[in-house]
Symmetry: C2
């Protein structure tokens, strides 16, 4: 993140929206760096991880579980399908597609897990457990803003 400077002139940006977006980008960058050796993005790791918990599952249901847009999930799945980490095939209901992890997907998940765990633990240490907990509660409340 070469664009971030410690000393930023005239930076009084009180927009709460931009502030959380910036923090979101920073945390994402932090996780991505640590996940880099796995070849997975944090969204991809998350997709695999959620899939592991609920597979086989339709795309719509998976999107709801992950609380992301259905069409975003559709697009995010593509690189994982191409690299053979997941598959999505129609079952009885020809409308829906059942998504599952492949063996390679399970392996990728196992491989990436300690990296993600380190990111997670580092963040907890950086912020502090109690404060992070309060933070997460507020994040939940903010998420509800869009309902």
């Amino acid at each position: 993140m070469t664009h971030i400077v410690k000393c930023n002139p005239k930076s009084l940006n009180p927009c709460h929206c931009l502030n959380i977006r910036r923090a979101s980008r920073a945390i994402t960058h932090f996780y991505e760096k640590l996940l880099e050796p796995s070849g997975l993005k944090v969204t991809q790791y998350s997709l695999l991880r959620n899939l592991e918990l609920v597979e086989p599952v339709s795309m719509s249901v998976l999107a709801k579980i992950m609380r992301i847009d259905r069409t975003t999930l559709n697009r995010n799945m593509k690189p994982l399908i191409i690299s053979g980490l997941i598959t999505a095939n129609s079952g009885e209901d020809l409308r829906s597609k059942q998504v599952i992890l492949t063996e390679a997907g399970k392996a990728a998940l196992l491989n990436a897990w300690p990296l993600w765990d380190e990111a997670q633990a580092s963040l907890e240490k950086y912020v502090g457990a109690a404060e992070l907990d309060a933070f997460e509660k507020l994040l939940s409340k903010l998420e509800a803003l869009a309902l």
Copy 2:
């Protein structure tokens, strides 16, 4: 945000990164909805607003002030240039481009301001001033994670 459901089965997603990303999306959605009548996205409003404070300014400097990536700024500027809200022209230093608001840009900003202000105020009311303040402090700290 049709994909968000109040009752989500098996949703124990402790990934801090995804949590803040979700909250970020939700807040963005909230601001976008309120800004909709202005025809501006929240990033665009922010670009115009920052520009108003520091124009004329080069793209690199503006990116640093806004704490966004230089190339992201470049891309985000394009719709605003096309719709005639800003201009970017080389000055003495032929490498850099000085970005300024057009009259239409100033008008758009004036028009959008009360909408943004309402979003901002609503959020403050929803979260609570004290809690929001603590939240913002933590966001700052998190932003520093990427330095």
